[in-house]
């Protein structure tokens, strides 16, 4: 025990300018950093998608060579998954979870700062690999062996970048779990938490469970490449199919890491604009937990064609189809929440409704892919590309856009431009469908994915898809404009922003004060 001899009239030196953002431990600052980074990566990944679609506008090779085309498909996926979607959701979690549970900040603020600042280095490494001798990684985001074992130096850079992204994700997930468990306001029991917090808690569990698997898989790839091991290298007696198993044991839960927080966001938006409480809250929580559990036992549906035993195919087929049950519960509950609600259609609600409709299309095409004999036909075709874009773009990305419009007034203190927001929504929804709906037909007709050239009979649908892609890409500049305009000014937002929304975040002024809930509010 020490006695204070000297004056403790210490000054709190808060850095300004760039140093504020580098050293910040405030959850709102870090949330802003994550969201800005996500938007930036969304644009980078989108530009890569436009390279792909420009090449596919016509049959034949016009713009890029096949090797660069493969680099673009690989990098587009890695950037969108690890750079845009995951950090985007972590940004939402940082901003909203402490405010939603009545906590002053995240439980481990310095760790939070570190989790974010690993990312720019990871992506410098990843994007820098495009300039490595022999070009960037070209084996697809799944890094399947033995192709990735044969790749150039860029594969090593990618492996290191994946490790860094993994560390960032795991540290972020640990922080979220500890915050939710230990920093809830008095009275905020687990079953009173907003659904967004629940979905993130379960997502964080998934991340903590599967990230070591990814780290182990890519490290074994690295040792196969450079240290003479043969985990996956058939030349040394290794098993490349085992890489697919281990990758998808990580990869399938990862799919839910990217969609569960989206479910959480729209579960916040729909009740506000339907002016009704969320229908079946407890069943929503159980459905999310059920989806998370099932995500661990369905991984091999990504690899039905490798030649697994019939009993394995049957197990993974039925287990995958089972996921439709909790997902159906969620869709039913969202629709039931809107049923006879006093609905209005502001931009966040438009995005939320489109997520319900379009994600359901993606879910149904997923059910088609779950049927093993049908998957033999669809596997590695454009049908799969259409399916996962309906899940990840119109599910995850559009939910994030809706969430951004929903909470932007709370973040900035200004209302966004509703007219431009609605224009952005309609352009996005229409161009999205022009881009990806024809890809179902291309896949069903047999056009393989990850090819820079195709047979003439696929031309019309590819032209449509490419026109849609450019429309979709350029529409997103409108999102950037609306966000920047809202940050810079606009009509002053009230604390509640919307018509009587529920949740602790709406009890604080807009913009949310830099320090909120240092003393926890009482939740009844």
């Amino acid at each position: 025990m020490a006695t204070a001899e000297a004056a403790h009239h210490e000054e709190h030196h808060h850095p300004s300018g760039i140093m504020r953002w580098i050293t910040t431990t405030n959850h709102k600052d870090i949330g802003t950093l994550y969201l800005s980074f996500s938007l930036m990566m969304f644009m980078v990944g989108g530009a890569m998608a436009l390279v792909i679609r420009a090449e596919l506008f016509q049959p034949g090779l016009q713009i890029v060579d096949p090797h660069f085309f493969n680099q673009m498909t690989t990098m587009h996926a890695l950037v969108m998954i690890f750079g845009a979607i995951m950090p985007g959701f972590v940004g939402f979690a940082n901003w909203m979870i402490p405010m939603m549970i009545g906590a002053p900040d995240m439980a481990l603020p310095r760790l939070n700062n570190w989790s974010f600042w690993i990312l720019p280095f990871a992506f410098t490494m990843l994007l820098g690999s495009l300039f490595a001798p022999g070009g960037g990684p070209a084996s697809g985001w799944t890094l399947y062996a033995p192709l990735s074992i044969q790749g150039g130096m860029s594969v090593d850079m990618t492996i290191l970048a994946v490790h860094m992204m993994g560390i960032s994700s795991v540290l972020g997930a640990i922080n979220i779990v500890v915050t939710v468990f230990n920093m809830r306001a008095p009275g905020m029991t687990l079953m009173k938490m907003p659904l967004f917090v629940w979905t993130w808690l379960i997502t964080a569990y998934l991340l903590i469970a599967v990230m070591p698997v990814l780290a182990g898989a890519v490290t074994m790839l690295l040792t196969d490449r450079h240290f003479g091991t043969a985990f996956f290298d058939p030349a040394g007696g290794g098993d490349p199919v085992m890489f697919q198993h281990i990758f998808w044991f990580f990869g399938h839960p990862e799919v839910y890491v990217m969609i569960l927080p989206a479910f959480g966001i729209i579960s916040e938006i729909i009740p506000t604009f339907a002016r009704k409480p969320l229908f079946g809250y407890a069943s929503m929580v159980l459905a999310v937990a059920g989806i998370a559990f099932l995500s661990f036992i369905v991984w091999a549906h990504h690899m039905f064609t490798v030649g697994m035993p019939l009993i394995g195919e049957l197990f993974f087929m039925y287990a995958t189809m089972l996921i439709a049950v909790p997902t159906g519960v969620k869709v039913f509950n969202w629709v039931a929440t809107m049923w006879r609600g006093s609905m209005t259609f502001e931009t966040p609600m438009l995005f939320a409704i489109s997520v319900v409709v379009l994600f359901t299309i993606g879910g149904l095409s997923g059910l088609m892919l779950a049927i093993t004999p049908a998957d033999f036909q669809y596997h590695d075709t454009y049908f799969v590309v259409a399916h996962f874009h309906y899940v990840l773009f119109s599910g995850a990305a559009m939910a994030m856009m809706g969430g951004a419009y929903y909470w932007l007034p709370k973040w900035t203190g200004h209302m966004y431009d509703e007219k431009l927001g609605k224009l952005h929504f309609w352009l996005t929804a229409i161009f999205f469908n022009i881009t990806f709906f024809p890809q179902h037909f291309l896949g069903l007709a047999g056009m393989p994915r990850r090819i820079p050239d195709y047979a003439l009979q696929f031309t019309e649908f590819n032209v449509m898809s490419s026109i849609g892609a450019f429309g979709l890409g350029f529409s997103q500049l409108l999102l950037v404009y609306v966000v920047v305009k809202c940050v810079r000014g606009g009509e002053k937002a009230s604390a509640e922003v919307w018509d009587n929304p529920k949740g602790l975040e709406w009890t604080v002024p807009s913009p949310a004060p830099y320090h909120t809930f240092e003393t926890p509010p009482q939740v009844r």
Partner: protein, 161 residues
């Protein structure tokens, strides 16, 4: 489960207030959580080990250690407190942060209470208690409004004496 905030009590010729951070889960609950997580994570890693893919195990082990350290850091916060005692002519402030305790004593009749707004929007208000140029900042776990209320309460208590 600790609710956090200020709890105060008045006794004969004195006053005592304790400020604690909010902790919504008991240390036992958090330990149970770590054990559950470890069982799941290590089961997955050991399954892969049985297939010869041993490199998952070190990462799972490392992650488990990080989770345990993070939980320990969060649990340690539950024992943090700030205690202000006004007893007779003496004001004693005891601050316990991360297991380190610091005590400051002031003469009651010279003690001043200052509520200073943050210099910028990014800085929280500060509640300072002390005298003769020696001040202690307390109430980091309080909101700006509660700092103001607490400052008024302490000023009243000091004047009444």
């Amino acid at each position: 489960m600790s609710g956090g905030g200020v709890t105060d009590s008045v006794f004969e010729d004195g006053f005592k207030a304790i400020i604690r951070p909010n902790c919504s889960m008991s240390p036992r609950g958090l330990v149970t959580f770590v054990i559950c997580l470890t069982v799941v994570s290590l089961s997955i890693a050991l399954s892969f080990l049985s297939l010869g893919l041993w490199m998952v195990l070190p990462f799972a082990g490392l992650e488990t250690i990080i989770v345990a350290v993070a939980i320990a850091a969060s649990v340690r916060r539950a024992s943090d407190y700030e205690m202000l005692i006004v007893d007779g002519d003496e004001v004693t402030i005891t601050q316990n942060r991360g297991g380190r305790t610091r005590t400051s004593k002031f003469q009651r009749y010279w003690t001043q209470v200052r509520h200073e707004p943050g210099a910028t929007r990014l800085q929280p208000d500060r509640l300072l208690i002390g005298s003769h140029g020696r001040f202690v900042a307390i109430g980091a776990d309080l909101t700006e409004a509660d700092k103001k209320r607490f400052a008024a309460r302490i000023s009243t208590v000091l004047r009444v004496g």
